[in-house]
Symmetry: C2
Subunit: 91 residues, 2 copies
């Protein structure tokens, strides 16, 4: 299952921990606070469980959004870096 | 066409301007730097044009991702606020 994960987490340590956990689950970073990737059902459950544990600040919010692969391929990326940040490992 | 827009923009003024423009186009804010909504083809073109104009800092990046409405309805929102930030005007 392809998912996009985007979040606002105010506390640095917690935000970094979420990023590390998402990478550990095999998701690829596309922005500072946005990851995308393909998860099997067990890893998807792990994702929800880990995020429920870590996202607990009053202002914190995280979205897990299922993503059609064809939709993802039709994305538009606009970057101020002339090299393009699509150099970030995508899919 | 349903789209999700997520961005990293380092300069405050520019980031606020992008948020205002996305709201003006009719998108709904779901996080500090993430919007979602349904755009007709002309507004979609406006969106791309405006973002190309505003997203120009070296570290800046913005993704416009087409979104299936059924995928969007299957999202999981995890919030530290017990009231739930789903009170944010969604769709």
């Amino acid at each position: 299952m392809w998912v996009l994960v985007v979040y606002d987490i105010s506390e640095n340590d917690k935000r970094n921990k979420v990023a590390r956990e998402l990478q550990r689950l095999g998701l690829s970073r596309i922005q500072r606070s946005a990851f995308v990737g393909d998860l099997d059902p067990q890893r998807y459950k792990d994702l929800v469980r880990i995020c429920e544990k870590l996202v607990n600040g009053k202002e914190d919010i995280l979205h897990i959004i299922p993503l059609g692969l064809r939709d993802w391929e039709r994305r538009v990326v606009i970057s101020g870096d002339s090299d393009g940040r699509e150099a970030v490992p995508l899919l």
